[in-house]
C-alpha cells in the first residue's frame, strides 16, 4: 500500500478496502525499518498515531468522515504540535513541547488525518541541504551519499522513501520546491498569505509560506484545499475564498501561455537539467500550450536581495530566543547579558548565527540604507518583472534547481555556493508568488524538477498544469531503489 498516492489511499479508505489503523501501522513499520538510515524524522508518534487512526476508523464507520479522514501524514518540525516536542531542528528548542497547535496542524487534525511524526529540517529552516540540523543530516533516498535538499529535507526524504504518503513543509526561499525537486516529488509553495503562518516558527515573516510535499499534483490539491484559507490569528493571512483545487485539475491546457525566461538558462545551469525542461515543454505543447520567450531582467538581483531581506527578518524574529521564557538556557549565568549571549551562542548552530549576524549588520545604524533599504527597492524591481511577465503569459516555467542533488559536505565550506542552489526559487518568495516543483526526469540517475510559477492566488492553474503533465509522464511514479 505504500506505493499508492494519497488520493488512491483516500479512495481505499472510503471504500473500506483498508482501515486507517492498518495503513498507519504499515507506515510506522516502514519508519522503524528505514528511518535509522535516512534520519528523516526527529520525533515518531507511534502511540498517538495509532490512537488517531482508530478514532478515524470510528469516524469512517459512522459516516462522519471527509476526504482526508484516516490518511497519515508527517509535519515538518517547524509546525507547533500541542503536547509534542517542536524543535525546529535546533538545540535551542530541543526541550520545547509546544503548548498549542499551529493552524495547519489543527486543520489536518480536525479533518481526521493521522500524524506519524515530525520531520527533520535545517535549523530554523536556514539551509538548502538539511545539513544544518542539530539532529544531523538527512540522506537522500535516491543516493545516501547525497543531500535531500532543504530546508524541508526530512519531509522530502520521508515521502520519497514511502515512510509517509505526504508531508508538510515551509518555503521561505525554496525550502519546499528545492527538496521536492531533488527527491523526485511534487512540492507546492502557495501565494504569500494563502496558508496561515500561525504556529509556524517564524524565520523571515514577509517570505515564509507553508505548503506540502506529495507524489502528485492531485495529492497536493487535496491537501491544499484543507490547509488554505483565512485565519484571524495570522495578521498577513488573506481573506479570500479557497477554490476547489481538485475539481479544477482537468481544466484543459489548450491555449495556456507558458513564459520561458531566458535568464534561467545561464551558465550556472547544468545543461542536462536545461534539456529536461525543454523536453517537458514539448509535452506541454502537445497538450495545447504555447511557449513564449520572456525576460526577467532583474532576475540576477534575487539571491543577493534575498540574503539581505531574509537575514534581516531572521535577526529580528530570532531575538525571542533569550533563555528566559522557553528554549535553551546556559548553565549558571553571571548576569542577564551573560544569560542572553551564552544561551544564544550555545543554542544556535553556525548557519543560524551567520544569518543573525548578517541581519544585525545590515540593519545596524550607518548600514541600513546601503543594504536593507536598497534590498527593499531591488525587491520591488524583482516583483515588477514578474507582474510585467504575467501580462503576456499565464505561467512561467523553468528548472527548480541548477543541478541534481549534490553530495553531503560538498557545499558546506562556502555559504555563497550553498545559497546559489536556490537561485530559481528566491525570487518567487520575494515577489510572494505561488510556485510548484514537479518531477521532470533524471540526470545521473537522480531526479530533477520542473518549476512552474503562477500569478498571485493562481494555485488552481499551477496544480492543473502539473496534474496534466503527470497524466502524460510517469516520473512521479518512480521509487528509489531499496524502498519499493
Amino acid at each position: 500500500m505504500h506505493t499508492k498516492t494519497l488520493t488512491e489511499l483516500a479512495r481505499d479508505l472510503k471504500a473500506r478496502k483498508l482501515s486507517s489503523e492498518e495503513l498507519t501501522r504499515s507506515y510506522l513499520t516502514r519508519i522503524e525499518r528505514f528511518n535509522p538510515q535516512l534520519n528523516a524524522f526527529i520525533t515518531v508518534l507511534q502511540e498517538e498515531a495509532l490512537a488517531a487512526a482508530r478514532a478515524a476508523d470510528a469516524r469512517i464507520k459512522c459516516a462522519d468522515a471527509n476526504a482526508l479522514t484516516g490518511l497519515p501524514l508527517a509535519h515538518k518540525d517547524i509546525f507547533c504540535t500541542a503536547g509534542v516536542k517542536t524543535s525546529c531542528g535546533s538545540k535551542m528548542l530541543d526541550n520545547f513541547v509546544s503548548p498549542y497547535d499551529a493552524t495547519v496542524v489543527e486543520r489536518f487534525r480536525q479533518a481526521g488525518m493521522v500524524l506519524l511524526g515530525k520531520t527533520n529540517m535545517d535549523e530554523f529552516a536556514m539551509g538548502s541541504s538539511n545539513e544544518t540540523s542539530f539532529y544531523g543530516p538527512v540522506k537522500n533516498p535516491w543516493d545516501p551519499t547525497r543531500v535531500p535538499g532543504g530546508s524541508s529535507g526530512g519531509s522530502a526524504a520521508a515521502v520519497a522513501a514511502r515512510l509517509a504518503p505526504a508531508a508538510t513543509g515551509t518555503d521561505t526561499g525554496g525550502s519546499i520546491r528545492q527538496p521536492a525537486a531533488l527527491t523526485g516529488l511534487t512540492g507546492i509553495k502557495p501565494t504569500y498569505g494563502r496558508v496561515s503562518r500561525y504556529g509556524m516558527i517564524a524565520f523571515a515573516s514577509s517570505l515564509d509560506q507553508a505548503g506540502v510535499i506529495t507524489y502528485t499534483a492531485e495529492d497536493a490539491a487535496l491537501l491544499l484545499g484543507a490547509m488554505a484559507g483565512f485565519d484571524p490569528r495570522d495578521s498577513t493571512s488573506v481573506d479570500r475564498p479557497v477554490p476547489d483545487y481538485t475539481a479544477e485539475l482537468e481544466r484543459p491546457l489548450k491555449g495556456l501561455r507558458i513564459g520561458l525566461p531566458k535568464e534561467f538558462f545561464d551558465p550556472g545551469l547544468d545543461g542536462r537539467v536545461g534539456a529536461a525542461v525543454h523536453a517537458a515543454l514539448t509535452i506541454y505543447k502537445k497538450l495545447g500550450a504555447e511557449v513564449r520567450d520572456i525576460s526577467l531582467p532583474n532576475f540576477w538581483l534575487s539571491v543577493p536581495t534575498y540574503y539581505v531581506v531574509a537575514p534581516a527578518e531572521c535577526s529580528s524574529n530570532l531575538s525571542r530566543f533569550d533563555g528566559v521564557r522557553f528554549g535553551h538556557r546556559c548553565e549558571s549565568p553571571v548576569d542577564l547579558l551573560d544569560l542572553y549571549t551564552r544561551s544564544r551562542g550555545e543554542g544556535f548552530g553556525a548557519e543560524v548565527k551567520r544569518r543573525i549576524m548578517t541581519g544585525t549588520y545590515v540593519l545596524s545604524a550607518g548600514y541600513y540604507d546601503a543594504y536593507y533599504l536598497k534590498a527593499q527597492k531591488t525587491r520591488t524591481l524583482i516583483r515588477q518583472d514578474f507582474i510585467t511577465a504575467f501580462e503576456n503569459v499565464d505561467v512561467i516555467m523553468g528548472p527548480s534547481t541548477p543541478t541534481p542533488a549534490f553530495g553531503l559536505g560538498e557545499k558546506t565550506g562556502d555559504p555563497i555556493t550553498m545559497y546559489l542552489n536556490d537561485i530559481y526559487a528566491n525570487g518567487v518568495n520575494l515577489a510572494g508568488l505561488p510556485g510548484i516543483s514537479i518531477p521532470m526526469g533524471f540526470v545521473d540517475k537522480l531526479p530533477v524538477g520542473l518549476q512552474i510559477i503562477g500569478n498571485y492566488f493562481d494555485e488552481t492553474r499551477l496544480l492543473s498544469a502539473a496534474h496534466q503533465y503527470q497524466r502524460e509522464t510517469d516520473w512521479h511514479r518512480q521509487i528509489p531503489r531499496g524502498f519499493e
Binding site: N95, F96, V97, P99, Y192, G193, S206, S235, T236, V238, W300, L301, P304, T305, Y307, V308, G323, V324, R325, F326, G327, H328, R329, V334, D335, L336, L337, D338, L339, Y340, T341, R342, R344, G345, F348, A350, K353, R354, I356, M357, T358, G359, T360, Y361, L373, K374, A375, K377, T378, T380, L381, R383, D414, P415, I416, Y419, L430, A431, G432, L433
Partner: protein
C-alpha cells in the same frame, strides 16, 4: 570588503551571541563573503523605486479590542527554564 575580528565581535555583541575567539576568523571570512556577494545590489539602478516591505501591499489588519485569550500561564511556564511563584527567574538585574 573584509570584516576585522573586532567588527565581528561588535556584531556578535549587538546580536547577543557569544562567539568563541577560536571561531571569530571563520565568521569574519564567511560574513565578509556574504557582504561582498550582496554588494552586487549597488549595481542596480533604484532611483525613484519605492521600497517594498510586503509582497501583497496589504495594510495591517486590526482586530476588535476584545479579550480573546484565556490565561494559560501554568501551561506556558512548563517550557520555562526557571520559574518561581508564577514568575520567570533571571539573574539579578538591579543591585
Amino acid at each position: 570588503m573584509s570584516l576585522t575580528p573586532d567588527e565581528v565581535r561588535s556584531i556578535a555583541r549587538l546580536a547577543r551571541l557569544a562567539i568563541s575567539d577560536r571561531d571569530i576568523p571563520r565568521y569574519a571570512d564567511n560574513l565578509s563573503r556574504i557582504l561582498d556577494f550582496v554588494a552586487q545590489l549597488d549595481k542596480a539602478d533604484t532611483t525613484s523605486v519605492a521600497p517594498m516591505a510586503h509582497p501583497l501591499d496589504m495594510s495591517q489588519r486590526l482586530r476588535e479590542d476584545a479579550v480573546t485569550e484565556s490565561n494559560q500561564r501554568e501551561l506556558f511556564q512548563k517550557n520555562a527554564p526557571q520559574v518561581e511563584a508564577g514568575l520567570y527567574l533571571v539573574p539579578k538585574v538591579i543591585e
